[in-house]
């Protein structure tokens, strides 16, 4: 007998294609999970409005839940809940750091752009850093440089 918790567990195996060690659950884009007999429903919210991976993630979410034995799985993406980086779990932030990206700080709705200039280096934890550009290889990343370990690094920027 499948219960709602099993759906969440299945979703923990669906990874963000751009950070393939971070699950959609830890990323915080799953906003609602429900089931009714042989039907399951999952709601998602995109990280960015121009996120090119959302269709792929919808399909992967659908397939992962379907594999639990549901006859019908409805996956819907909407903006009822607006994603922000505070929705990333503590475990997710740890994963992001181990992946080599500076994790986004908890901001509670107040993002101070000037603070980004001193984002802590994910390699040596120094705050003696500078931001080279607020835009990086994907929409969610910015480019930085650490003056202490002399490494360029990327950050998952706070949104």
């Amino acid at each position: 007998m499948v219960i709602e918790k099993d759906i969440w567990t299945a979703l923990e195996a669906v990874m963000d294609p751009e950070i393939p060690v971070l699950s959609v659950v830890d990323l915080g884009i799953i906003t609602d999970v429900s089931m009714d007999g042989s039907r399951a429903s999952v709601k998602m919210t995109p990280t960015f409005s121009g996120c090119p991976a959302i269709k792929l993630m919808e399909k992967q979410v659908h397939d992962a839940v379907k594999a639990l034995g549901f006859e019908e799985v409805a996956v819907e993406t909407n903006f009822d809940v607006q994603w922000n980086t505070d929705r990333i779990s503590a475990k997710g932030k740890e994963i992001i750091k181990n992946f080599g990206l500076a994790p986004p700080p908890q901001h509670n709705g107040n993002i101070d752009m000037n603070q980004l200039a001193h984002t802590a280096c994910p390699h040596c934890d120094s705050e003696n850093t500078t931001m080279k550009s607020p835009f990086g290889p994907t929409l969610c990343r910015s480019l930085h440089y650490c003056f202490d370990c002399l490494q360029a690094f990327e950050a998952f920027k706070p949104i």
């Binding site: 960015f48 409005s49 121009g50 090119p52 903006f79 607006q82 990086g136 929409l139």
Partner: protein, 253 residues
């Protein structure tokens, strides 16, 4: 929804989306050509946000107002049916022009989304809240370079001042109200182009002066785009943008 609200509301959303799509297309033209690689990436990323925002607005028009699929709406209309401003259709020009346009346009977008996030029309308010977080980074990026280049040498100062002067009348043309706007204001859907323009002028003025720019002469805004009247630059852009789609409009992507 009553017709006297529905009409201006759908036109307002369409105009907003058209501006974003054309601006996004122009910004994407910097891909591979930026003066430094970080700027190449920045303009490409901003373009991606803008095309994404446009797509979500076209989708809102499809789901709530009975429009065709976003791809159809984006790629099959000609210039007469496009309601974007003259600002966004101007060629990218040199980097100074593109930067000044990016600053003036995105600051207006930031304030527009702030206003719309309070809109009584909830589907639009939700999108505006989302877009606002993205545009914060656009404005931050634009401000960094606007400031830095006015802090550079005589060449960079002169070029940036002249770019701001050139772009300004076009930028003022972004605030073109739709017919029946008063109904949107009365319903608490949008505070109006005139209120938006006042807030924008105040911020632009204060920021330009702080960075050492002279305020551009107040010229007549370049209007008409919102009514489907365009310069010679839009139709070639639309031809290029929709070229692949129109080869086979029914193709599955």
């Amino acid at each position: 929804m009553q017709d006297n609200i529905k009409q201006p509301l759908q036109q307002f959303i369409l105009q907003l989306a058209d501006n974003l799509l054309v601006m996004g297309h122009r910004n994407s033209e910097w891909t591979g050509l930026g003066p430094i690689i970080e700027e190449d990436i920045a303009f490409a990323s901003i373009a991606q946000d803008q095309v994404g925002q446009a797509w979500n607005l076209y989708q809102l028009l499809e789901s709530e107002f009975g429009f065709a699929h976003p791809d159809q709406v984006a790629f099959t209309r000609n210039e007469k049916e496009f309601y974007s401003s003259h600002l966004v259709e101007q060629p990218t020009g040199e980097y100074d022009f593109s930067l000044a346009r990016h600053y003036l346009y995105d600051l207006a977008q930031l304030i527009r989304y702030e206003m719309l996030s309070r809109s009584s029309y909830e589907p639009l308010a939700k999108l505006a809240k989302k877009f606002h977080g993205e545009v914060k980074y656009h404005v931050f990026h634009a401000q960094t370079w606007m400031k830095q280049l006015m802090d550079g040498n005589e060449v960079s100062k002169a070029r940036m001042q002249s770019a701001v002067n050139d772009v300004f009348p076009f930028a003022m043309g972004v605030f073109e109200s739709v017919d029946g706007e008063e109904a949107l204001i009365a319903e608490g859907i949008f505070e109006g182009e005139s209120a938006l323009k006042d807030a924008w002028m105040q911020q632009v003025g204060a920021q330009l002066l702080e960075w050492g720019y002279s305020l551009p002469q107040l010229a007549q805004p370049v209007l008409g785009g919102g009514k489907g009247y365009h310069s010679e630059y839009l139709q070639p852009l639309l031809d290029e943008m929709g070229e692949v789609f129109r080869l086979d409009p029914s193709a599955e992507w």
